[in-house]
């Protein structure tokens, strides 16, 4: 994983000191609320319902065990012993005091972490596949490019005050696990016919009020032009994106208004001036960053050792966990373990300080001291030997990390909602819990199979409800919390935006509506057909008829 050199350290330290000074000037009245707000936001600090909320960057979801231990320390010292993983692979502290935030940032800087650009109208944390570097279906490891983009986007002098937030995601695998089609810029690592490596560039995707699947603006961008091309896209957006209405200010609106062809032409014109300039990447530059992402010293191991298959046969609960919560690894004899943060009764994505310490210990003991954060808000041990899996499972169970529901209906992607967030129209956590409780029977849950359930407490769509196979959106009706259900959304290589099935539901009625939807699926599914495939085949009507049927 990437390690800071003296310059990286210095830049982060200087940002901490700048923020300390800004905070002091705000507290002394030298900066007004209106002046301080954008400055604190671009350092990840919100003022929320109960207290400030500090969002800490986890660049492309990579986390070292020592960093996770530091996050645990911070949770204990400055917060209430827990934190929350977000859909941008970041982590949030919900209860810090404003005056202590500069000290938190100083502690984070010790372990090469920061909160730079985790909010505000600037380029946010770059995200990628949580299994980058270890996935079996990887074409090219995207992480060197993620780090190059991270550095390029960090404190970029020209793009500190964009019309709106700007999110970039990179995918290097066959299956897109980074939701690149719903990002402001999505980059796919591809090879052209000559075998050269480059990026397919997708622009203008996004969720929020106006969900749009991004469109391709360049089919093949050679890798050494990456930064000059990003500069060109950002400059066109910075100059011409709307600033009169924050709901029309994302790049997707500009692309739609101009048409994708005209937008691509405008970018191309700007790029011609920047192309081959000093920001052009040389092979030696890429090699420098790639050198941080080499494979650890993997053992040569047999696949499926007897110690694994015997336990698998003897203990159905372990077999179930193995099936759901582990993923194929590019090296024989290894798997990646997903530690589920979706236990019923715990807000999705929440993690305690004790869990952080435990996971950090396992990363050291069973792996190479690294962890990943998935945008589905789970934690991953990327390199676990198959003969250690049984022990890891037992340890994970003891820490409440082993709910075997990864990819299933109760693995709900969920924003913090009205319990914490001042933007939310409705609470999400109690409703997610009610759904988890309703589907707690594991046989039933497994029978339903893979279903992405995404939940947002308001139309800002932090819970990505539009791309859930089944999505929930909290809405406000005359001061009351109501919930709208969408069906048919999907993330990945065939991203689609879900459709609303009809009038919204009162909180108490959401689990029953879910149950009716699932009953229709079970009645209608063809053999081996996943939920989303049935929805696509039969359409929304059978679900609507059942859910909204009059009682007899």
């Amino acid at each position: 994983m990437y390690r800071y050199d003296e310059v990286d350290h210095r830049i982060v330290r200087e940002r901490v000191e700048q923020f300390r000074d800004q905070t002091q000037r705000f507290l002394s009245g030298a900066l007004t609320e209106d002046e301080f707000r954008p400055l604190r936001l671009m350092n990840g600090l919100y003022v929320q319902r109960h207290a400030p909320m500090l969002r800490v960057a986890i660049p492309y979801g990579h986390l070292a065990s020592r960093q996770l231990r530091k996050l645990a320390q911070i949770a204990r010292k400055y917060d209430k012993n827990y934190a929350h993983f977000t859909t941008r692979q970041n982590i949030q502290f919900n209860w810090p005091k404003l005056e202590t935030v500069p000290d938190i940032l100083a502690e984070l800087a010790e372990v090469e972490m920061h909160a730079i650009q985790t909010s505000g109208n600037c380029v946010r944390n770059t995200t990628t596949d949580a299994f980058a570097g270890v996935a079996q279906d990887e074409l090219l490891d995207p992480r060197a490019y993620c780090e190059i983009i991270r550095q390029w986007s960090t404190l970029h002098p020209e793009f500190a005050f964009l019309p709106r937030k700007f999110k970039i995601a990179v995918s290097g695998s066959v299956e897109d696990r980074a939701a690149t089609q719903v990002h402001d810029i999505g980059l796919h690592v591809v090879r052209n016919e000559a075998g050269e490596v480059g990026f397919k560039v997708i622009v203008g995707g996004g969720l929020g009020r106006t969900p749009i699947v991004g469109e391709e603006v360049k089919s093949f961008l050679p890798t050494h032009h990456l930064l000059t091309y990003l500069d060109a896209v950002l400059r066109v957006y910075n100059r011409f994106g709307r600033r009169d209405n924050k709901y029309k200010a994302r790049i997707k609106i500009l692309v739609k208004a101009m048409t994708v062809e005209a937008f691509a032409a405008k970018v191309e014109d700007e790029w011609l001036h920047l192309k081959d300039g000093p920001s052009t990447l040389r092979d030696v530059d890429v090699a420098h960053y790639a050198s941080f992402f080499t494979d650890p010293a993997y053992d040569v191991l047999p696949a499926n050792p007897a110690v694994l298959t015997e336990k698998q046969a003897a203990e159905p609960a372990f077999a179930r966990w193995l099936e759901r919560n582990t993923r194929a690894h590019k090296r024989a004899g290894y798997r990646s373990v997903v530690l589920s943060l979706k236990k019923t009764g715990v807000p999705p994505g929440d993690i305690t300080a004790d869990q952080m310490d435990a996971a950090a210990d396992w990363a050291d003991r069973f792996g190479y001291g690294e962890l990943r954060v998935a945008h589905e808000q789970n934690l991953i041990l990327p390199d676990v030997r198959e003969h250690d899996l049984y022990e890891v499972w037992q340890l994970a169970k003891a820490q409440g990390f082993a709910t075997p529901n990864v990819g299933l209906l109760t693995d709900i992607i969920c924003c913090p909602g009205g319990d914490f967030c001042s933007l939310a129209n409705a609470r999400s956590i109690p409703v997610a819990e009610a759904i988890q409780t309703r589907f707690e029977n594991l046989d039933y849950l497994f029978d339903l199979g893979e279903i992405d359930c995404n939940f947002s407490g308001c139309m800002n769509a932090c819970g990505h409800h539009h791309i859930g196979n089944i999505g929930i959106l909290g809405v406000d009706k005359n001061g009351e919390e109501w919930y709208q259900i969408t069906l048919g959304g999907s993330q990945g290589s065939h991203t689609t935006i879900g459709k609303v099935i009809g009038p919204s539901f009162a909180q108490a009625d959401v689990p029953l509506a879910f149950e009716k939807i699932m009953t229709v699926y079970l009645e209608q599914r063809a053999t081996g057909e996943r939920f989303i495939e049935t929805v696509r085949r039969i359409g929304l009507d059978p679900f609507k008829e059942r859910v909204y049927a009059k009682h007899h």
Binding site: V7, I11, E35, L39, G277, D285, H288
Partner: protein
């Protein structure tokens, strides 16, 4: 006269800025004062402005078309960019374009909602003069230059990005 920051120092400045009033009317400008006029006024009466005894410069709004000023850049004594709100970042791109695309080498001034926390970025994209917003300390703003001693990107002040210097120095 007011104090501004220019080339890293506090300097006395006598330029006046011509802005439309609430009704969209422009006040009269005395013949002998140095004045910075909006692009529209400049384009509407270039010869008249140039015939005055005082000097005339031009200021750009964030959405002004730089191209319209291209032919005059070599002779203008000063170009200013207005930041109606500090959160409006369009002026940063204008600064870079003036320096890097149009090779403008004269005084480039940031005016409007400009204060210490913005100085570093403004300097990096090519501004060399800063008219600090009323009510904000001018002398305190000098510290803004040194907020960061390094940066990752190619900028007007340091065109070679850090990744190139980093690898070259290995």
């Amino acid at each position: 006269m007011r104090n501004i920051i220019k080339d890293g120092q506090i300097a006395q400045d006598s330029w006046q800025v011509l802005r439309a009033d609430a009704e969209g009317q422009y006040p009269a400008v005395a013949a002998d004062v140095d004045v910075i006029v909006p692009l529209s006024q400049w384009l509407a009466g270039k010869a008249t402005w140039q015939a005055r005894a005082g000097k005339t410069a031009v200021w750009l709004a964030p959405d002004d078309d730089l191209h319209l000023l291209a032919d005059d850049l070599a002779t203008l004594p000063l170009v200013a960019v207005d930041f109606p709100a500090f959160t409006d970042g369009r002026g940063y791109s204008l600064g870079r374009l003036l320096r890097e695309r149009y090779s403008y080498a004269g005084e480039l001034r940031a005016m409007g909602d400009v204060w210490v926390d913005l100085l570093h970025y403004l300097w990096q994209v090519g501004f060399n003069a800063f008219e600090i917003k009323d009510g904000k300390a001018v002398d305190g703003a000098l510290a803004g230059y040194d907020t960061f001693t390094e940066r990752y990107q190619s900028t007007h002040r340091e065109p070679v990005p850090l990744f190139r210097r980093r690898v070259t120095s290995l």
